[in-house]
């Protein structure tokens, strides 16, 4: 049928609306994007968050300083050790204590392990969403090596609560360093393999290059840090620009790229993993012996196995012996139980589980620290401390009113900021490009919604 002139001009140009999520696999069940489409091109978008909001800040304000650790595990649940370190260091800043050197090295090592885990997960998931299942399987294998190590060290795989205010939970178990070195070698090999699979892969480049572009000016205006900022050529990294722990002693580089698209972010993350491997190797090389926790006055605790000799005849028999504790309790595997360390001053750091369940002093110390309004009480004041998490600057701002609970605990979740710009990032792209653009942000709802 021939069309009349009037019919041709009344061609509909109304845009269509498409709802993405929250029940869509690539939206992790927690994000909703309402897109406005013209054909298959996105002309507008609105992002809705809050589906995983569980009042992290309110919860922290209603428990003691020490009990907030399990909540911080659940911020970025892929790299929970980094969140632990961030919270502990903020509280320590408020107290004005510095942890012993060995503890700082331990924290650096676990932070970098976590960073590798996070980047592995991000790239694996992003590649899988584009159909590259091999990459996903390779990287999950690599991640498994690290999760095994984390489990060996902390007793848990994901929600670890390893770091304590003023210290860490446990020293390396026997054989850990060897195993870590071997795992890093394996991971480096896998990174090379994935590099071969993806970096020059026509399909991968077509799907990610020029997708989800943010220019430098907008990235800065949106306060974005981490790999996304480095992917627009700004070498900002808290580890270099405001060094904490012992990061200033290591030789590593901050990788940058200049595309500002999903592909550049992938390149930055790949290089960052290699740099993290480098940091861990240097840290393992240089880690000094010594104490792993402090007391409240900032003095180093003796790392001696037993200090209360003389007073406690029973305790002396305890040296080198395995504590008989219920094996279902975390951290009570063989190495931990034989590695018991008693501490003289128990005002700040929780005693080890073996000590807590193994003798009365440990039990009392633990009880005093966790009981309501009896635990550690920082001086009044405010403190902000930031660490470089896998997604960028993870900052905690705490306000203390001098009681046993934080008066305010604010968390700056690094992926909140790129998510605030997602609606602009998507404009001009196709519907199918939502997946790689969103995947390159590495949105972790735990720290986005808190």
């Amino acid at each position: 049928m021939e069309k009349t002139e009037s019919q041709k001009s009344s061609k509909r140009t109304e845009s269509a609306f498409l709802n993405f999520g929250p029940s869509h696999p690539s939206m992790h069940g927690v994000i909703r994007i309402i897109t406005e489409l013209e054909g298959e091109r996105i002309v507008g978008a609105e992002v809705e968050i809050g589906y995983l909001h569980r009042c992290f800040e309110k919860a922290c304000e209603n428990v003691g300083w020490t009990q907030a650790f399990p909540y911080t595990d659940r911020l970025n649940y892929v790299s929970s050790l980094l969140n632990n370190v961030g919270w502990a260091m903020t509280a320590e800043k408020l107290f004005g204590v510095t942890v012993p050197e060995r503890c700082q090295y331990l924290r650096v090592i676990v932070s970098e392990i976590s960073r590798i885990v996070d980047h592995l997960t991000c790239i694996a998931a992003a590649a899988m969403e584009l159909g590259a299942l091999t990459v996903f399987l390779y990287f999950m294998k690599a991640r498994e090596f690290l999760y095994d190590l984390i489990e060996m060290l902390t007793g848990a795989r994901i929600t670890v609560s390893y770091v304590r205010i003023g210290g860490v939970k446990a020293d390396f178990p026997p054989g850990f360093e060897e195993k870590l070195r071997r795992a890093l070698k394996e991971i480096e090999k896998i990174i090379v393999e994935v590099d071969k699979l993806l970096t020059r892969n026509r399909i991968f480049i077509d799907r990610t290059k020029g997708i989800g572009v943010l220019d430098q000016q907008r990235t800065i205006a949106y306060g974005i840090t981490g790999p996304l900022l480095r992917a627009v050529g700004v070498p900002y990294d808290v580890r270099k620009d405001k060094p904490y722990l012992v990061y200033d002693r290591f030789d590593f580089e901050i990788p940058i790229a200049d595309g500002g698209d999903s592909y550049s972010r992938y390149l930055v993350r790949m290089e960052e993993m290699r740099q993290s491997v480098k940091i861990i190797e240097q840290a393992l090389e240089n880690i000094p012996p010594g104490a792993i926790a402090v007391d409240l006055s900032g003095r180093e605790m003796t790392g001696a196995d037993m200090v209360e000799t003389g007073k406690q005849g029973k305790v002396r028999d305890y040296v080198g012996a395995k504590a008989k504790v219920d094996l279902t309790l975390d951290g009570t595997d063989s190495h931990g139980a034989s590695n018991v360390r008693l501490v003289e001053h128990r005002e700040m750091t929780l005693p080890s589980r073996e000590e807590c369940y193994g003798n009365i002093e440990g039990l009392i110390a633990n009880f005093m620290l966790v009981m309501d309004n009896w635990g550690i009480k920082p001086p009044k004041g405010e403190a902000y401390h930031a660490v470089e998490a896998a997604n960028g600057e993870l900052g905690f701002y705490v306000v203390s009113d001098g009681t046993g609970k934080p008066m305010r605990a604010r968390c700056r979740g690094p992926c909140f900021f790129p998510m605030a710009t997602l609606h602009e990032m998507l404009i001009g792209d196709m519907v199918a490009d939502i997946i790689p653009a969103f995947g390159s942000i590495n949105m972790i709802a735990g720290e986005l919604d808190r």
């Binding site: 809050g50 306060g223 405001k242 405010e382 701002y397």
Partner: protein
């Protein structure tokens, strides 16, 4: 209010003190961080000055949030973290607000990310940001009543169940 800031010789603080005089109520170093408490009416002007002066150049808003100091008066405090990339300098601005008149000028016209940050701050504390283009809840759902992070909001308070309307 604590006046425990250490005095510090810093060009940024000098510049804002010179330009705004009495609007800078207190300034100094708090545990190594640059802090200034400024008066609520002037916050927008101060941030414009910090952002746009070429020698200050605080182009990045790192964080914006509210602290509830109940029962202190003034009760609320809005905290801004600004960052200057070239000089790697950071400043924290604090604005104290009374409960009766807890509103402050928006800075969405200066930093795009302030849009979400201010929405979250309003959602959680009920601090109004005057001139915000779309001041609605961000993390909580629309029919939620109250502002959950206020210290007088009971932690075990229940909200009425909501569901899709037929």
């Amino acid at each position: 209010m604590s006046s425990t800031f250490e005095p510090v010789d810093n060009n940024t603080l000098k510049a804002i003190k010179k330009k705004f005089g009495d609007a800078v109520l207190e300034a100094g170093l708090d545990k190594g961080d640059l802090v200034a408490i400024v008066s609520p009416g002037k916050i927008h002007d101060i941030i414009v000055f910090l952002r746009d002066s070429p020698e200050l150049d605080f182009k990045m808003l790192i964080d914006l949030f509210v602290v509830d100091y109940m029962p202190r008066k003034p009760r609320f405090e809005v905290v801004y973290h600004l960052h200057c990339l070239p000089r790697n300098e950071r400043i924290r601005l604090r604005v104290q607000l009374d409960e009766k008149k807890c509103e402050v000028d928006t800075i969405t016209d200066l930093y795009s990310v302030a849009n979400w940050l201010e929405r979250e701050a309003w959602d959680m504390f009920g601090v109004v940001f005057k001139g915000h283009p779309n001041l609605k809840r961000l993390l909580m759902y629309e029919p939620f009543e109250g502002h959950p992070l206020r210290r007088d909001y009971p932690i075990n308070k229940r909200q009425p169940l909501i569901g899709p309307k037929n």
